[in-house]
């Protein structure tokens, strides 16, 4: 029979496997003694949740998912392994919802904090860090510490978006928000080129609390950057459908690993053309469930198998507002020239930068592009990063697997401040990941650590 343990390997969502062994425990407080890295549901694409070379063990939090407090005014305290999906199912019918959600609900609270996730509401609600009231952590010297914006604030803000490198997040306390109904009112509008799409995204953000755009990033010429803008808001009680939305019990599985050519320029071009023209009218509106609106890809379980055995990566970067549309255009032109993209290419306008020391979003436009991994992927990422650096942008560590340490340094002047706080709490850099070795200058563990 096939066995996980004979050849223990672990990978992120992009399926780039490394030697590693997941440890599971329902008692995170006990199991985190001596841990070097924690991971949740493994939805970060790259190596953020993978063990540093030399120490294969990574503590998986998903069994530690108890809700410790949920008040009528929306204060939630729970163990770090609680999934967003479980949380949503718990809160939506009570008229509460997370103020910030990423594009999948297969993430844990701990992972959301470590990535300081953002979402379709970033321009009004910021990142999740703005809504975290407190964290309970095991820090490198073995102590259990409660931190918040008021207590041990340095540790708190380094942990928000700190990629799990400041300690083990055991519990998260969040402020949820009230929703007028369990439905979203959504409008979708088609735009035939990049300029009109960017202008519509900017205008949408002035008028709507939720915005995102799907962009066709393989079509060249005048129609380059054509796409569909999605805007939305919570529906008011008087206008929404009377029945609560059904929350999906099961999702459709991808039954096997697709061949590597399944995501290639001809198939992506065909998909994008079909997807763009699927919406016949220039504008479509209606009420949709939060699941449909926020998590369209969650319908397909294990959709990463569709990229075949070589897996995938995502390049997500934010181009600062002052760079203007030409920054976004330059990145897309580089991307189309590389012919490296997949159907998933998403634009989002970002609001104010959060207080997390390494928090990803800043005012500007975020561009996220899924790419099948090929022999030239590292070079393609380097070329994209060249544009990002030129326009003063930065990448999202949660998605990254291929950026070089030099490029990361060039786009991340905040790294030294982060490392100062990290060393204050963890002088020996006990908490490490494959990503921190690749990008932060950490050493691999001496074998047998």
């Amino acid at each position: 029979m096939p066995s996980r343990s004979q050849e223990p390997r672990v990978a992120g969502w992009g399926r780039q496997f490394v030697p590693g062994r997941e440890l599971f425990s329902e008692d995170l407080e006990r199991a985190s003694k001596g841990a070097h890295l924690l991971r949740g549901l493994g939805r970060s694409y790259g190596d953020a949740s993978l063990p540093a070379p030399g120490c294969p063990d990574v503590l998986t939090t998903t069994l530690a998912d108890r809700v410790l407090r949920l008040t009528d005014d929306g204060v939630l305290r729970a163990e770090a392994g609680l999934s967003l999906r479980a949380l949503n199912r718990l809160t939506l019918h009570r008229g509460l919802f997370v103020p910030v959600t990423p594009g999948t609900q297969f993430v844990t609270l701990g992972g959301m904090v470590a990535s300081d996730v953002h979402g379709k509401r970033h321009h009004v609600a910021g990142t999740i860090g703005r809504h975290v009231r407190a964290l309970r952590m095991r820090v490198a010297d073995g102590r259990i510490v409660e931190c918040s914006p008021e207590t041990h604030a340095d540790l708190f803000w380094a942990t928000i978006g700190g990629m799990g490198l400041t300690g083990a997040i055991l519990e998260v306390e969040l402020q949820l928000e009230r929703t007028p109904s369990p439905w979203i009112y959504q409008e979708m509008t088609k735009h035939g080129d990049l300029d009109s799409l960017l202008a519509a995204l900017e205008e949408g953000s002035r008028n709507w609390p939720m915005t995102v755009a799907w962009i066709d990033c393989v079509t060249r010429g005048r129609a380059m950057g054509r796409g569909i803008l999605f805007v939305g808001r919570w529906a008011e009680a008087h206008e929404s459908p009377p029945e609560p939305p059904r929350w999906g019990e099961a999702s459709i599985p991808v039954p096997f690993e697709a061949p590597n050519w399944a995501i290639s320029p001809p198939t992506v071009r065909a998909f994008n053309t079909a997807y763009y023209h699927k919406q016949l009218r220039s504008k479509v509106q209606g009420f949709v469930s939060p699941e449909t609106f926020f998590y369209p890809l969650d319908v397909i379980a294990d959709w990463n198998l569709g990229y075949g055995s070589s897996g995938l990566t995502q390049h997500q970067a934010v181009i600062p507002r002052q760079a203007g549309p030409q920054g976004v255009r330059a990145l897309l032109e580089r991307l189309t020239a590389l012919s490296a993209a997949s159907p998933l290419c998403v634009l989002k306008d970002c609001g104010e930068q959060g207080q997390g020391l390494l928090s990803f979003p800043r005012p500007g436009t975020s561009i996220a592009i899924d790419m099948p991994v090929r022999s030239g992927t590292a070079a393609a990422v380097a070329q994209l990063n060249e544009v990002v650096i030129e326009y003063g942008g930065r990448i999202y560590l949660t998605k990254d697997q291929f950026t070089s340490a030099a490029d990361f340094r060039a786009m991340e002047p905040r790294l030294d401040d982060f490392m100062d706080v990290r060393r204050r709490w963890d002088p020996e850099l006990r908490f490490r990941s494959a990503q921190s070795v690749r990008l932060f200058g950490d050493s691999p563990f001496a074998t047998g650590t």
Partner: protein, 246 residues
């Protein structure tokens, strides 16, 4: 419905308890780990959105049968009346570990066999008057003697045998007995073990067990495919079982 639940703090028991309180059941939790019981009760109350989802918690250790009577009586008294007992607690260790450590083997045998059966005897006395339901987690490991699970499998085989007998003996009096036979399920208990095909998730097991409870079934395999897998394994001749590794 009101249940005494032994083993709600972890794994499949935790998943089942969550589904039970979500549909409106009221529980009294028994178990070894006092802090774990409190956190579990808090979790269940928060998820259910009602304080009476769990009316109390109490100490019970399957290795300490002297404590069963008082613990069960106190639980039933707190509930007022009882419609069922769920016992998902138990001990597990892989075959080589048990063969190497006979003290550990003795604890596994006592918890899963002697302890669980004596606990069920206490439960039965409370359940017979109300024609209640006894739900006990055994295992597919008890269905056939197999190489990797001689000792654990024996403890569960004995337990399954007992539960079937109790069903035969008291069904006419209205007692309903459900023997739960999980296959390989991804819990902390099985973490790190070689994962066979058809591994299941605790919540999917819980959903299936709850459906079997409602339908009044005597035996449920979970995930469902394990009923077929074990049918085949039970039919394999001895010379084949001597050669294969499972």
């Amino acid at each position: 419905m009101q249940y005494v639940f032994v083993g709600a703090t972890r794994g499949m028991g935790r998943a089942l308890a969550r589904r039970m309180v979500a549909r409106g059941d009221t529980l009294f939790l028994l178990g070894r780990d006092a802090e774990g019981l409190d956190r579990c009760a808090t979790d269940l109350r928060a998820r259910a959105g009602r304080e009476d989802a769990v009316v109390g918690v109490g100490a019970l250790d399957l290795l300490q049968p002297d404590g069963f009577g008082p613990a069960v009586d106190a639980a039933v008294a707190a509930l007022g009346s009882v419609d069922g007992f769920v016992v998902s607690a138990g001990l597990f260790a892989p075959g080589p570990a048990l063969e190497a450590d006979l003290a550990l083997a003795e604890r596994v045998l006592r918890a899963n066999f002697t302890g669980t059966i004596l606990l069920c005897e206490h439960a039965r006395r409370h359940l017979l008057p109300s024609k209640g339901q006894l739900v006990v987690f055994s295992s597919v490991a008890g269905d056939r003697g197999r190489k990797p699970i001689a000792i654990y499998g024996a403890s569960k085989a004995g337990l399954s045998h007992y539960l079937e007998s109790v069903d035969h003996r008291f069904a006419a009096d209205g007692l309903r007995v459900l023997t739960v036979k999980p296959g390989f399920v991804r819990t902390a208990m099985t973490a790190g073990l070689p994962e066979p095909p058809f591994a299941g998730e605790p919540d999917a097991v819980a959903k299936r067990v709850l459906a079997a409870m409602d339908a009044g079934k005597p035996v449920v395999y979970a995930p469902a495919i394990w009923a077929l897998v074990m049918l085949v394994i039970r039919l394999l001749p001895r010379f084949v079982m001597r050669r294969v590794g499972f």
